[in-house]
Each structure stands twice: as C-alpha cells, then as structure tokens.
Symmetry: C2
Subunit: 326 residues, 2 copies
C-alpha cells in the first residue's frame, strides 16, 4: 500500500501538500495539485484510517450494544444505525450481550475512548448498581432502570401500551391479558403501567403473565399457561412481536382461532408482522427516526457538547391495526 510519503516522493512535493490535497485543505498551487493528483491515482493511494484516527485522537467508531442480531428487532435497529452512522463516516462496532446481565455489565465497562468515540446501548438486564458511567458518550435506547445521567431515546411506552390495550377494549374484548411482565426490565414496567391504566379506566380485570425472555418460545409458554386456566382471556397484549407470534402459535395449537376466539397485539412492528397469518396488530415505533436520533446524539456528545444536560428524545409511534385484532 502506498503511503502519503510515497505519493509525495512521486509527485516531488512534501507530505504536507499531499495531505492538503487529500483532505481538501487550504490552497495548493494548480501545478502541484495536478502532480499530486496524478501521483495519487498512479499509486492508488488510500489513506490509512487507523493512523489518521490515532493522530486525530478519535477512533471513527461507535459501539452498538444489543442482545443479539438474530432477534429481528435488533437486526432492523442495527441496520438503521449502521446506515445513519455511515452518513457521518462512522463505523459501527456491534457487541452482543445475549441480554445477559454480566455480559452487559462487562461490555459497558469495557467501552473506552481508544476503542470507540461513543456508544449506543440497548440495556436489557443491567441495573444501576451494576454499571458506572461509561467513559465515552453514550445514549441509551428504550426504557431502562439505569439512574445514569445519560442521553436517552425511546418511545412513550406507557402511552403506547395504553393505546394497544384501549384498542382491544374498543374491539369489545373484556378479558385482556398481558404477556411479558418482568420485574426490572424498564420497557416491561412501563408497558405494564399503560396496560393497567387502560384496564382500570374500563373497569376490567388484569391478567398478567410474566416472561423472562422475549422469544417466540416464551410467548408460546405464557399463552399455554393462560389457556390452561379456568377462564381464558379473549385478548392478549404482548410486549414484543416475538412473544405475540409465540402466543398465536400456542393459541392455534390449543384449537383457538385468532382473532375470533382471542385477539393478539404485539409491539415493535418487525417486518414479519405484516405477513404473518394472521397479520399482527402491533405498536410501530418510527425505527428510522430512532436510529437517526441516537446517532445524532452521540455525534453531538462526541463533538464535545458535554455540558448539555441529559437529553430525552421521544420517538413517535402508531398502532398498526391488522388481522389479529379484527
């Protein structure tokens, strides 16, 4: 690989001049510019980004900490963040934690300024006691129990859950269960609150099924448990789409028809939800806006805007009404 120096020698100028041309700095005598450009293409020069960043004291990377990319929601999220970061010449380093508390803690603790310029973290299991303030600017995604003065991007989970539950009430459902209750998971706590509020307003009973993880399997299990009881629900609001798909699966296995016997609402609007059978009614956050807001915030912090108080950006959502509640 040709270096800046090689190009300089070939062009018969100093490295500074080459650097100036490469970076578009200042003025370069047309004659020299031409010679440099010739040398540049003759050598096929590509700047060594690592060396540049070492010198500049930045890394050009941001970390994205998520449970796993194989979960469609996080795949979609990561895709959006990579695209948004690329617009600012940033690369994204993805760290998978499996939603495991220890791995989340270690991963966040390992985030350092010589590895990344900032981080976007989607915490699942860590609690405040676990983590110190990361040593790089960080923005937190979704609700979480971390009492850390960090920027945050998310949707209004209480309202979203209220909207979903209200939708089921308006559809005439009276025994509305929820799947996904979890003691510490921030989104779960908020969504449960929204659900409760809507039921209270309507004077309907709460039916709460917990889930430790949010995979298909957990949804199916929770639904099976609900149906095994004496007085089964006629609707269920699941805290993510995978729980919902699992719940639908279990309902069907139980001989029920969705939505006739039991209506189902999900959360996330993953791509699949529009094509499942039945198509899934779900809360649809504006994921592109979320990715953009998160990247913009780290950019701002990494740019040195450090005494701005912690920001809380709320991303809009809509309820996508589909077959599973019609």
């Amino acid at each position: 690989m040709a270096t800046l120096k090689d190009v300089a020698v070939l062009a018969g100028v100093s490295v500074k001049t080459v650097s100036n041309v490469v970076n578009g700095y200042g003025f370069v005598k047309p004659e020299n510019r031409r010679r440099v450009e010739d040398a540049l293409s003759a050598t096929g020069y590509r700047p060594n980004i690592g060396a540049r960043n070492l010198r500049r004291g930045r890394t050009g990377f941001i970390a994205l900490v998520v449970p796993e990319l194989s979960i469609p929601y996080f795949g979609e999220l990561a895709g959006g963040i990579i695209a948004a970061a690329a617009e600012h010449d940033w690369n994204v380093l993805i760290e998978q934690t499996q939603g495991d508390r220890d791995r989340e803690r270690e991963t966040i603790a390992a985030l350092g300024p010589h590895m990344v310029d900032g981080a976007i973290i989607s915490p699942q299991a860590v609690e405040t006691a676990d983590v110190a303030l990361p040593r790089v600017p960080a923005v937190l995604l979704g609700e979480h129990p971390l009492a850390l003065p960090l920027d945050h991007v998310g949707i209004d989970n209480v309202t979203a859950a209220h909207t979903a539950t209200r939708h089921l009430i308006d559809a005439g459902r009276r025994r509305i269960a929820v799947i996904g209750q979890h003691p510490t998971r921030g989104t779960a706590v908020q969504r449960l609150a929204g659900y409760r509020q809507a039921l209270r307003e309507a004077g309907l009973p709460e039916i709460v099924a917990p889930a430790l993880r949010y995979h298909h399997h957990d949804g199916a299990e929770a639904m099976a448990a609900l149906l095994a009881e004496g007085d089964p629900p006629d609707a269920v609001f699941c805290f993510n789409d995978m729980l919902a798909f699992g719940a639908i699966r279990a309902a069907v296995d139980h001989g029920l028809s969705v939505p006739h016997d039991i209506a189902v609402v999900g959360f996330d609007n993953t791509e699949h939800s529009a094509y499942s059978v039945p198509a899934l009614t779900t809360i649809a956050p504006d994921k592109a806006a979320l990715a953009k807001a998160a990247v913009d915030l780290v950019r701002r912090r990494a740019g040195g805007d450090t005494d701005l108080p912690p920001q809380h950006v709320q991303i809009p959502f809509v309820l996508e009404v589909r077959e599973s509640t019609r």
Copy 2:
C-alpha cells in the same frame, strides 16, 4: 486515558517492561512484574488497540458485506460471524449493500488492507466483470457467479433443492412450482437446477416463477400470479423463507389452506419458521458451522497462508419438516 508510558513512569520501569507484562512476553523479574501490575490497575490502563494495530500492521477488523441486517437470515448470519470473530479478538465491520449491484461493487473495491484484515462477502448481484480480486483475503458466502479464485463457504444448493422438491413429490404433490428463479443470482441458479432434476426424475411438469428480490412481498406477488393461472400448483418450493411466508400469505388471501390445498417449503430455517402458522418446512443449513468456517478461512489467509489453492467448504444442511407440508 493512561498510556503505556504513564504506567512505566508510575512503576519506575521502561515501557518495554510494561509492554512485556501486558502482552505476556518473556520473563519479567517478579519484583518488576508486581510493580507493573500495581501500576496497571492503579491507572486502569487499557491498551490502545488502534495504535497497537498500526504498529503491528494489522487492523483487527474483518468486513462483513451483506445486503441488509434487517433481513432475518443476514441478522442471524451476522450475529454468528461476530461471535465467531470475537473468539479470535477480531471485530466485524458490517457493510450493507441493499443487494444493489453498484453498491456491492463499490464496497468490495473499497476493501483495503488498512481498513480490514479480511472480508466475508455475501454477494447478491455483482457479476465477475464487476469486481477485481479484493486487496484483502476474502471468503465468499453462498453460490455466486464470480469466477474469482477465492475461498468459498456454502451448502450444496443443488442437493438441497432436490431434497426439498423430492419431499414434496413424496408427499404426493404433482404440480410443484418454484418461486425465486433469477437469471444471475448464484443460489437461484443452483436451486433451480436441483428442483428441475427432481421433477425430471419424477416426470412432473416444471412451474417456474421468478423473483427479483427475496422479500415477503415478492413471494406474495409470485404466488398471486401462480394462482391467477388456470391450473394452480398444489405445492411450491420457495428459494428463501421470506418468499415462503409471502407465498403462504397470498395463498391464504386467495382462500386456500396450507398445506391442504397447497404445500410450501422454504429455505434458510430462519428462527421464525418454527413458529409461523403453519410452521414452515424449510431447508436448514448449519449456520453456526457456516459462520465458523468463514471466520476460520479468513483467519488462515490473513495469517499469511496465501498459496493454498482456493478452498470450498461445504456446510451440512437438513430438511426441517413442519406443518406447511404435512
């Protein structure tokens, strides 16, 4: 951030000694080792990976070139590759091409030794004429029309497609369509060949529906077109799971029951296929093995093993038989 030099000063030794301790090199006098270790933890030293790699002439990164992470198959793949790479202290840089020919070409052309030590590429649309040999060790994933002397990891697509089709024949289906035919996409060409071979052996007619892209939408469209014809198929083999989900959707919309009226087989065994309604019969490649093989190959090449002839690693697969064909 503390540097090696800071630690050296604090410990009262030279940077060399600290470096030796940090990297576990050679012998260090116990007394010195203790002092260095104390200084290390007192300063909370973390090596600057960028500087290390600059010096070592490596980057510590491999690129993963995929269409988009929001496609579940690629999300799962990326997750596996990141995990496999992490075992060797490698970070993965993900480049999304949207399966676009120009972007694939540019991305591959931009792959340079100062950015990444190697690359894993899942080509969708590029053709041989488009791309020169990447300047870093690269392994290609899946079938592709690139006549480049590069390592390759994939499954036996012809046999897999034959297996899928044969399964439908054995189930008594007689009008078996295929969705996903594409003139240049390597996997499509091979899967079509396997399908044709199986039909030929059974003396059954070919019903071939093309698809430009492989999303739900394309599967639904293709299925709708097949059903609009006079003599609809009683089974369809789709070249990936998303096409299959789209096809099922369209069949249901058309008032058909899967598998009673029409059986459906997919390809990839994405996580969702086990929970869809009906659960999808699909070709299940061993994705973990695929990720591991790909990472091992780049590692070997990046390690300097350059005169080994291009390797072709075949990953095992099985047919997961589920409700959509029962």
